[in-house]
Structure formats: structure tokens, C-alpha cells
Point group: C2
Chain length 106, copies 2
């Protein structure tokens, strides 16, 4: 179970689509990807301990790895100083990128 | 002088405001901040070797550290697999965050 300070997710500045950008970073520091989360996705991440996002292309809640098996166990959820960006610190199973690369920034 | 593959910045998917999200990461792996860049900001970054962004609050091109002195020397500019996010690998002078913290995600 991930713990967050009370009200942190309420205080986030979601954009006009109701989304915030999320950086997924491996524990060794590697930035794996940048994706987007809705409040529902953040709640699911905190509740399950696995990274959830909002797929802008499919317009649906997206559990990372639900199809591929390339799950992201979330160790910590961090919010930036002005509460408009989120960082998931993760343990990635398999490659994070759909191309098969470890990182989408490879 | 930073070198990028030809056409990389032309191929970026800018959002409806003409912006892309940019992750600034220190060479040791620390994620310092998430900000936004216009094409003009990316061009200025590549041309000068110092991180430029688009300030959404001030609605202007923003050379990081121009006022504070907390410049970001950019070692590399990376684009993600679907060309809608950018990563600046940087050498940060002083704290990256306006709060005085090293990272905006502290």
C-alpha cells in the first residue's frame, strides 16, 4: 500500500482534460516514459501499487502491462512543487517501451 | 553545440498550444523538474546548449536561470518513442527548484 499525504491528489492541478503528466522513473534513476494520469488513474495506482495511466489514444484507464505483462510496481508517488506534475518511482517488469526498449527515451 | 538527428524537432508532436512536456534530468539520474517547451525554446536550447522552456504563467520564452543564475547546461536532448515528450540531460547550477530544493520533486 502506497501512502501519500492527505489531500495530495485533491490538490493537484489537472489540465483542461482532467489529466496530469506523469514521469515513470526506475529506481536506478532511468527515466522510462512520460504518460498521463487522470484522478481515477492516480487513485488506482495508490490503491493497487501498480502504475495506472489514462490512455489519450484509447481514451480509457490503462493499467501499464495489463496486456503485455510489463507491469510497473510503484514504490513512491511524488508530486512537484507546484502540484502540476507527478513522478512514479517504479520497479519495471520487462521493457517499459512498446518498441521493446527499456526506456521510451532510448 | 548539441547535435540532433535532422528533422527531430520538426517531427515532434506539439500540443494544441504548440508545446511539448520536457523532463530535466541531472546526469546522476535525479529528475529535477517537468516544464514545457515551444519549438522556439527547443531551438534556443540546441543553439546555446542551455535549457530554454516556455513559461506558461508568464507566456514567454524562458531561459532557465537567466534571473537566478541557476542555469542548466544541456548535455543531450532526447525525444521519446512517439515524439511527444522530450528529455534534457543537464548539468544543473544551484537548485533547480524555485523553493531552493535541488529537485522540484523533492
Amino acid at each position: 500500500m502506497l501512502t501519500l499525504a492527505p489531500g495530495v491528489l485533491d490538490g493537484l492541478k489537472y489540465d483542461e482534460r482532467g489529466l496530469v503528466p506523469v514521469i515513470a522513473q526506475e529506481e536506478d534513476g532511468t527515466v522510462l516514459m512520460l504518460a498521463w494520469a487522470s484522478r481515477e488513474a492516480l487513485d488506482a495506482t495508490v490503491a493497487t501499487g501498480y502504475a495506472h495511466y489514462w490512455s489519450r489514444s484509447r481514451r480509457e484507464l490503462w493499467k501499464k502491462g495489463a496486456t503485455s505483462g510489463h507491469l510497473q510496481e510503484v514504490v513512491a508517488v511524488k508530486v512537484d512543487c507546484d502540484a502540476d506534475a507527478v513522478l512514479y518511482l517504479v520497479r519495471q517488469t520487462g521493457p517499459a517501451c512498446h518498441t521493446g526498449s527499456r526506456s521510451c527515451f532510448s
